[in-house]
C-alpha cells in the first residue's frame, strides 16, 4: 500500500514568488501549484472549494509586509485566513491545514520545500475530514 501523501494546493502571488522561472518549469516541479495575480485575489470560496475537491491542505504564498504590488492584497488575505481558521475549526478542520506565508522568492526554489514542510505536518493529521466524515465526492 502506498504511504499517505497529502494533497496540498499552493496558491502563490506572481509578483513575489517564482516570477523569474518559467511557469511551465515550476508547474512541473510543483504539483497543484496555482499562481495568482495577487494573494488578495483569492476569495474564501476558492479555499473552501479546494478543500471540498480533495485538498488536504492549502498553502498561500503572499508578498512580504508592506510590499504588495497592489498596496494591501496580502493584508486582505491575512484577514480572510484569520476568519477562515475559525470557520474551518467549526467544520472540524484543523487550522494547520490552511497556512499563509509572506515572503518573496523570485526563482520559486523554496516553494517545494515549504510544501514538503507542510506535508510533513499534514501526514500526522491524516486525510481531511469534514465534521468527522470523509469529504463526499
Amino acid at each position: 500500500m502506498q504511504p499517505y501523501e497529502p494533497t496540498i494546493i499552493c496558491f502563490s502571488c506572481c509578483f513575489g514568488w517564482g516570477y523569474l522561472t518559467g511557469r511551465d518549469v515550476l508547474s512541473v516541479r510543483i504539483k497543484h501549484w496555482v499562481p495568482v495575480i495577487c494573494s488578495g485575489k483569492l476569495d474564501s470560496t476558492h479555499i473552501m472549494k479546494a478543500f471540498r475537491e480533495g485538498a488536504d491542505g492549502v498553502l498561500i504564498l503572499g508578498c512580504p509586509d508592506g510590499d504588495c504590488h497592489f498596496q494591501d492584497g496580502n493584508y486582505q488575505t491575512r484577514k480572510k485566513v484569520h476568519l477562515l481558521h475559525k470557520v474551518l475549526a467549526s467544520y472540524g478542520i484543523d487550522p494547520r491545514r490552511l497556512r499563509m506565508e509572506l515572503g518573496t522568492d523570485p526563482d520559486g526554489d523554496t516553494i517545494p520545500k515549504l510544501i514538503q514542510n507542510m506535508g510533513r505536518e499534514l501526514r500526522q493529521l491524516g486525510p481531511l475530514k469534514v465534521n468527522g466524515q470523509a469529504v463526499e465526492a
Binding site: K49, R52, I93, V130
Partner: protein
C-alpha cells in the same frame, strides 16, 4: 367546468412561518384558492396522506414544499410529492438552503441527543432514554420517524424545479411565483423566483455609504444605536447585505435590524458564508496579525453569523441523500 390545477402545500422540518407567509397573502389568497384545487395543506385543511398516494403520478401541478429534510417522514413525503407533482417549488430558506436548524450539522445527531436528553442540566432522565424509531409500550409497538444524521436542503433529497428563498418569503414574491405557475410564465427550471442582485443594491441606506468603509471595531446591534439611514457596516455592525440576495423588501433594515442573510447567496454563488467572509474581511482596517486578532475577536460565533441559514448547502457542508441511508 374546467378542471382546476391541483396544488399541494406541505411542511417538512419547518417552523410554520412559511405557511403564515402564505396566509399573509390576505385577500389575494382567496383569488389563488378559487383558481386552484388545494389537495394538501396540513396547516389549513384536513387531508390524509393516503389521498395523495392515490393520485396518479405528476397529477399535482405544483407542490410548494417548505422546511428542510431532517427525519425519515420528511424524506418520505418529499419523495411522494415529487412523484405526484409536475413542478416542485422549494419554498423558504429551510427548503432552499437547509435553514437555521441546519446549524445542527456542526454538532452531529449523537451529540445533540446526548445534550438534549441526558446532559442538559434541566433534564431529568434517570434511565437515559432517547427517542427511538421503534419501541414497545404496554405490549404495543409504537413508531416514530427516525431523525437523520444530517439536515438536508430539499434539493439534496429530490430534484427541485424552482426556488423561492426567504425566512419567510415575502407575500409579493409568493403571489408572483404562484401567478407565474398558473399563467405558465416561468423562467428556465432551476431558477430562483427572486431578484438576482445583492441586497445592498436595493438597500435604502446605500445612498449614505462612504466610498470606503473602514471597520475599526466590530459592534453588536445592542451596543450601538445606528441611525435609520446609515449603513450598518459603516458602524461596525455585521450586516449580511453584501452577500445576500435581495427581494425581501428590506423588512429587517426598515426596523433598524441588520440583514441576517435569509435570502441566501446571490445568483451564481454557492457558499454565501464564505462570500460574505471575503467581503467583510476587506472592510476591516487591519494590517498586522495583532490588529487583525484584536478586531476580529469581537466577531463572536462567526459560523453562526455566516451560515445562519445556509450550512447544509455550503461548499463544505453540502451532502446528497440517497434513498435508504440515514
Amino acid at each position: 367546468m374546467t378542471k382546476k390545477p391541483k396544488v399541494a402545500i406541505y411542511w417538512l422540518g419547518a417552523c410554520g412561518g412559511c405557511d403564515e407567509a402564505i396566509v399573509d397573502l390576505n385577500e389575494l389568497l382567496l383569488d389563488v384558492a378559487s383558481s386552484v384545487e388545494i389537495v394538501l395543506w396540513p396547516l389549513a385543511m384536513d387531508r390524509k396522506y393516503d389521498s395523495i398516494q392515490r393520485l396518479p403520478d405528476r397529477s399535482i401541478a405544483l407542490s410548494i414544499i417548505h422546511g428542510n429534510v431532517r427525519n425519515s417522514e420528511h424524506e418520505e413525503m418529499a419523495r411522494l410529492l415529487r412523484a405526484k407533482s409536475e413542478l416542485v417549488l422549494s419554498f423558504g430558506s429551510c427548503a432552499c438552503f437547509g435553514g437555521s436548524t441546519g446549524l445542527a450539522n456542526f454538532c452531529g445527531r449523537d451529540s445533540i441527543f446526548e445534550w438534549v436528553y441526558r446532559e442538559s442540566p434541566t433534564v431529568e432522565n434517570p434511565k437515559g432514554e432517547t427517542p427511538k424509531p421503534k419501541s414497545t409500550v404496554d405490549g404495543h409497538s409504537v413508531t416514530l420517524p427516525e431523525i437523520l444524521d444530517h439536515v438536508y436542503a430539499l434539493n439534496q433529497v429530490i430534484p427541485v424545479d424552482y426556488y423561492l428563498p426567504g425566512c419567510p418569503p415575502p407575500p409579493d414574491l409568493i403571489f408572483h411565483a404562484i401567478t407565474a405557475v398558473l399563467e405558465g410564465k416561468l423562467p428556465p427550471r432551476g431558477a430562483a423566483l427572486a431578484p438576482q442582485k445583492a441586497l445592498c443594491e436595493s438597500c435604502p441606506r446605500n445612498n449614505t455609504k462612504p466610498p470606503r468603509i473602514d471597520i475599526k471595531e466590530i459592534r453588536r446591534p445592542h451596543e450601538v444605536e445606528v441611525d435609520s439611514h446609515v449603513c450598518f457596516l459603516v458602524e461596525g455592525v455585521i450586516c449580511m447585505g453584501p452577500a445576500t440576495r435581495g427581494g425581501c423588501g428590506e423588512t429587517c433594515l426598515r426596523i433598524n435590524t441588520p440583514c441576517r442573510g435569509c435570502f441566501g447567496p446571490v445568483e451564481g454563488v454557492e457558499d454565501a458564508g464564505a462570500k460574505f467572509l471575503s467581503a467583510f474581511a476587506s472592510l476591516v482596517r487591519a494590517t498586522t496579525d495583532e490588529q487583525v486578532q484584536s478586531i476580529m475577536e469581537k466577531f463572536h460565533d462567526p459560523v453562526g453569523y455566516l451560515y445562519r441559514f445556509t450550512q447544509p448547502s455550503s461548499t463544505l457542508g453540502k451532502r446528497t441523500k440517497s434513498r435508504g441511508t440515514v
